[in-house]
Symmetry: C2
Subunit: 761 residues, 2 copies
């Protein structure tokens, strides 16, 4: 098969992997039918739910429309890129008639139009495949979460266990879509392209990451604009409770939970899941080309398939009874069941198929261990029972300033330990393949990423569970449900907050692991191109070279730029929202509760605000690596990626953990500590939480896809960059065009924040 020497058993196993991916999707379908058959509760509940559903749908439809032009442009550019970057020897071998026994570069003289077409279409269609899958995961996952919301609320009136099952299974649908489509895409591309797959795989990864960036940024801005806006006017100015139906932004806030925490997170995790397999396959194909051993390629696919099966079983086991009411215990049971099944599965593969190649097994298990370590660290730095949150809560007694300072101190420190945990897992990869070429170590790092994301099915289920429970509670509140039912939903919501925080930590860590292995592919890939061009290959990415050091420094700045711009974007959108809510409060009847506010107007504001910010940020993420590559050259571009990864990891974890810790400090005070709700301490804790919200839900999480979009763009343009040795007129003009695009995007992103302009009372 594909002239790669796969045995018939291996071919059968590949088809089996494809089968498992499809089983995962069928399981999602099965769960969806199960959920949809449940009742939607009272007419009041359905009325609220319809508003949420329409708002969510409208948002993603607008998003889709506004992204189509960019997608079409990139599709065309990727297709015609084959004119600039010719096909690889591997593509010629795969698609043309080539005599046996030729050297790697001799093959090129047998190049045929089929190979060119195959690669052109492969780059473009894989990009489209990645983008559509990412969008689908987000879209379908979110719509199923919305369908779940109202049914969870309705079930909460009857039974705790039923409400838990519906909420968790609604989330599991997204989980299975994530792992099913992720495995499907990677496997199909490899089955079609064989050893010439890297080109198409990069396109697949790029499409997925780009859409994930947009979903994350858009969803993050949407949700925080609505949340911050609703809180500042509703809670602080007008003294209303959370989810008070008189607040015009209340529906937008509930929609925000769906588009941010469901659609955004799902697309993001999908992208991590996808990119880890992309980098493992690319590195595996490179090793297989040298050793002739195809198991380097197949192992990650098999591991993924085992993970999908383990997730199906583990998630199905999540249930509790109305006596115990132990949602967290049930979810954890499912999680550990999946972990045990996967680990046994990895062992069986290593033993039966890999003939005792235990290093790959250990690298994968190291990933599982890393996931657990990250969860523990996240728990320590953001959990209510631990010292950091206790200290932040204690400092609320001295006002907002000390609250912020102690959150900053804890957040700064937490990022150190998470980075060290990641460093340790890279250390394991080095230890396992000590003395072998870097590519083996990087492959092991990619496997660690694969291992980390083995339980993605469970993680996404747990994560989506959060906003579903939250929304169900909101629906119950707005629709005026019974106390008893609301209590059930509150309990579920508290569990959801914990599961959400855990997933966030894993998502960031997996992003770094994926980025490190992509960065390794960059080095390998660039050298393959240089070899094809008959030019000396890169010996190193030497940061002692001042030009390369500049690349490192510039790469380090990018997360700070994005972080700052995204905070501004949230402020701007929240400012618009505040004006709208204030205006509607002045409408006669709204404050008295005799007239319903116009929720749709607030929803439209969040939708529009989020849309405006997407394109500029996307343009900056795409143009920056191209400019750096063309001006500073390939080696500095490599260092740029290294700087981006290190700086992005530190900043993202700081934001996520500081935000999470402030949030939970507020919760402990609302549970009665230091005077409880309404006390001065509570006010200070609300400031902490409001500051933390855009950090943990917008800027921080958007770092994951941003880092990978930039990495993938760098990988895709690397062959182009090394072709231009000097700064010719054409290159200069191209760089100037890109710079102009960058500056245009920056100017849009830098519009004054929403709190600045003409916003006096």
């Amino acid at each position: 098969m594909w002239k790669m020497g796969l045995s018939s058993g291996e071919v059968a196993a590949l088809w089996a992997v494809l089968g498992v991916a499809i089983i995962g999707l069928l399981y999602a379908l099965f769960l969806a039918r199960q959920i949809l058959s449940k009742d939607k509760g009272t007419p009041e509940m359905q009325a609220v739910w319809k508003d949420i559903r329409d708002g969510a749908r409208a948002y993603l439809n607008t998003q889709l429309r506004s992204l189509v032009p960019l997608m079409v442009l990139l599709f065309i550019l990727l297709a015609i890129s084959v004119l600039v970057v010719p096909v690889t020897p591997e593509a010629v071998e795969t698609f043309c008639a080539v005599p046996e026994g030729l050297g790697r570069l001799e093959v090129l003289q047998y190049a045929c139009p089929t190979a060119t077409w195959a690669i052109a279409l492969g780059r473009a269609f894989s990009f489209l495949l990645g983008a559509s899958f990412s969008f689908m995961v987000g879209y379908l996952g979110m719509m199923m979460a919305v369908e779940g919301n109202v049914r969870v609320a309705s079930a909460a009136r009857r039974s705790y266990s039923e409400a838990l099952t519906i909420a968790y299974r609604s989330g599991t649908i997204t989980g299975m879509l994530t792992v099913g489509l992720g495995l499907l895409g990677g496997t199909i591309i490899f089955m079609v392209y064989g050893k010439s797959a890297p080109d198409a795989l990069l396109g697949f990864g790029f499409g997925g990451s780009l859409i994930a960036l947009f979903m994350r940024v858009g969803g993050g801005i949407y949700t925080k604009a609505a949340d911050v806006g609703a809180d500042l006017v509703g809670k602080v100015e007008a003294g209303l409770e959370e989810d008070d139906p008189r607040n015009a932004a209340v529906i937008a806030d509930l929609v925000g939970d769906n588009v941010g925490d469901c659609a955004g997170m799902a697309a993001d995790v999908f992208e991590s899941f996808e990119v880890t397999i992309v980098s493992a396959l690319i590195l595996g194909i490179a090793i297989a080309a040298q050793t002739g051993e195809v198991h380097w390629i197949l192992f990650p696919l098999f591991v993924r398939a085992v993970g999908v099966i383990a997730s199906i079983i583990g998630t199905y086991l999540v249930r509790t009874d109305d006596e115990k009411r132990d949602a967290m215990g049930a979810i954890n049971f499912g999680y550990y069941a999946s972990a045990v099944i996967s680990t046994i599965g990895f062992g069986v593969i290593s033993w039966v198929y890999m003939r005792g190649e235990w290093r790959l097994f250990l690298a994968t298990v190291a990933g599982v261990a890393l996931a657990i370590a990250i969860e523990k660290l996240t728990e320590i730095f953001t959990g209510t029972g631990h010292q950091p949150v206790k200290e932040i809560a204690a400092s609320t007694r001295f006002g907002a300033a000390t609250t912020i300072l102690s959150g900053l101190a804890e957040g700064f420190e937490s990022t150190v330990w998470q980075a060290l945990a990641i460093a340790a897992s890279i250390g394991v990869a080095i230890f396992l393949f000590h003395g072998q070429p870097y590519i083996y170590i990087l492959y092991a790092v990619a496997l660690t990423g694969i291992g980390m994301l083995t339980m993605t099915g469970n993680n996404v289920s747990m994560d989506s569970f959060g906003p579903i429970a939250d929304n169900a509670g909101g629906i119950a509140e707005v629709a005026g449900m019974s106390e008893e039912g609301i209590k059930v939903l509150d309990d579920l919501d508290a569990v959801g907050n914990t599961t959400k925080a855990i997933t966030k930590g894993v998502a960031i860590a997996s992003a770094v692991i994926a980025a490190v292995s992509l960065f390794g592919s960059f080095f390998t890939d660039t050298n393959l191109v240089l070899e094809r061009l008959g030019r000396p290959t890169l010996a190193a990415i030497n940061v002692a070279d001042p030009l390369v050091f500049i690349g490192l420094l510039v790469g380090g700045t990018l997360p700070w730029l994005f972080g700052g711009l995204m905070i501004r974007a949230v402020s701007r959108a929240a400012g618009d929202m505040i004006q709208e809510v204030r205006e509607q409060f002045r409408w006669p009847g709204v404050m008295e509760g005799t007239r319903k506010p116009d929720y749709a107007r607030a929803v439209a504001i969040s939708t529009r605000a989020a849309q405006k910010e997407l394109l500029p940020l996307g343009v900056m993420a795409i143009t920056t690596p191209i400019i750096v590559g063309l001006v500073l050259k390939a080696e500095a571009l490599g260092a740029f990626l290294a700087g981006l990864i290190v700086s992005g990891q530190l900043l993202a974890v700081f934001m996520a953990n500081a935000g999470g810790a402030w949030d939970n400090a507020k919760k402990t005070i609302e549970d009665g500590l230091y005077g409880g709700k309404g006390s001065e301490a509570h006010k200070a804790s609300v400031v902490g939480d409001t500051v933390g919200d855009p950090l943990k839900d917008t800027s921080g999480p958007a770092m994951n896809p941003m880092i990978k979009v930039v990495n993938l763009v760098a990988l895709i343009i690397a062959p182009m960059v090394v072709q231009f040795t000097g700064l010719s007129v054409g290159v200069i003009v191209f760089v100037l065009i890109l710079l102009a695009a960058f500056i245009w995007a920056l100017r849009i992103s830098k519009r004054p924040s929403g709190f600045a302009e003409g916003m006096s009372e």
Copy 2:
């Protein structure tokens, strides 16, 4: 001379440089006599002043005592390090009888005890020299500032221009000490050791940086503990004005301005000034060894001498009259006068001595340009007239949370542009020495650092001017001076705030430039050692090697760890202060103003709190690079430094600029914007300012010396690290001891923050 082929003219010029350094010091002495001859005002003013003087003196005396054991230990370790790291061929050539015409390594067989003794003593005594100079600059500078304070207050009753002159010249004393001692030390070491100077220069740099780190950290914690403590209890709880004599922390607060802004800043700038010449000389000596051209060594010394002369003239020109009252104009006039004189001087040297080697001239001028660019950027991001501060001020209307968010957004962004300015100046160095070995480019980077710090004399004068004017105002306030005089001092204080912010930006940027060239010396140095050991030299610091990437990642975490720990330290100290002030408010008579609070007790609290934090942070800064070097080896240690520089630069600038912007946003509101003092907007702006204070005055500035201490430790241990190829038992035991020391230090630094424990109302 020193077998280096210096012409008699060059020798004479070296002596002239030494003479210029001494002239700088004599000028300081002249100014000191001038200041001391002024009157000290009323008995009330003198009483306040004596409290401040005693507090400041007590602080630095305590600091000195607590550091002596560490200094003695390091002195001994550096002296006996010659047993582990043998002398260089250059030392043998300089101090032993060696026949002519031998190769670099052949010389080693002529090694004599004199060389060993010279190097052992050189390393140890240069360390002591650097440390003492750094301490002296801080100590004397601070004491002169204190002497100046009361005389400025007294003069303000008579004349604006006289008050300005005294304040500025008191600051100039520190400025001239900084440049005089910096130039003296570097020149003497070179004159004694010739081409074997690098060893001693590293010791010199290390001593200066380590003391600067302690002065910065100690001073920063002292000043912010007093400031935050005084504000939170005095202003917020008791509703008192700034500098109200009933507040027990008021004297500690005034002392804090001196130990933080005078002593801390002076030691810090001295260290940057010193380290840039250290790295320029080390790189210059390495180039001269290859080319035989000694002008690579002498040029930086000459440039520095020109700078000293230009500063003497420029600072002396600063004066205004009582009509115009234009302090800022006068200070700027002096600054630009110095800039013009220096640039002309550089041109003359390049033309006459360097025989038209204009590249060195241009690299130096690029440094001057970078200093100006950094000043502009700092002004844009923290100045009251510009968009960022305006936006932060506007967002205060929506409460503390939006104030913090907009400050974060602006701070994040500002760090990007400053990093790009630094990248551009490295780009100039690359452009000038395009195609030549890295060492030339790094040398040009070092010259850029030298150029940047040419106006150090002026910068330090401007910077010290700030706290002197501030303290004079405090003395006037506490001593109950006339409105008219207080108005003069307020005007001067406002100017001082601007000059302080500018110096901070330059200090950070120069730290990065110095660190980049030190980092270059690391690479060169390590390879010289490897060559001597007959082992293959490092080809690169290749971040595509996973082990090296770990180094990069770990290096990136260090600034975050320090940043977090220092915020905690300030919180802890402020917590102690709050308890003290609260207790004293309860003393009968204090609130009524009939009984003086016990200022000395508050001073003692700040002093003790600052001392406790120093040693642990110092231990962490020293042990980390040794552990990384021994465990991950030299190449990863290099990447560790690169990660540290990039991450430290970004974090430090973020902290400095966000803090400065919050401070000025508060000022614009206090000047009447959005309701002025007492409004809700003002309260929000106070939160911003209180959060920003420890960032801009403690954590942020401490990054400069921390980055360089770590770099210098890495340089010093590099020869040791490359000698150990494996992990022998001895190395493992040593690493474990260091790790234990690190963990001990971390545990102390991680004690709960002052707001956490038993601090209920």
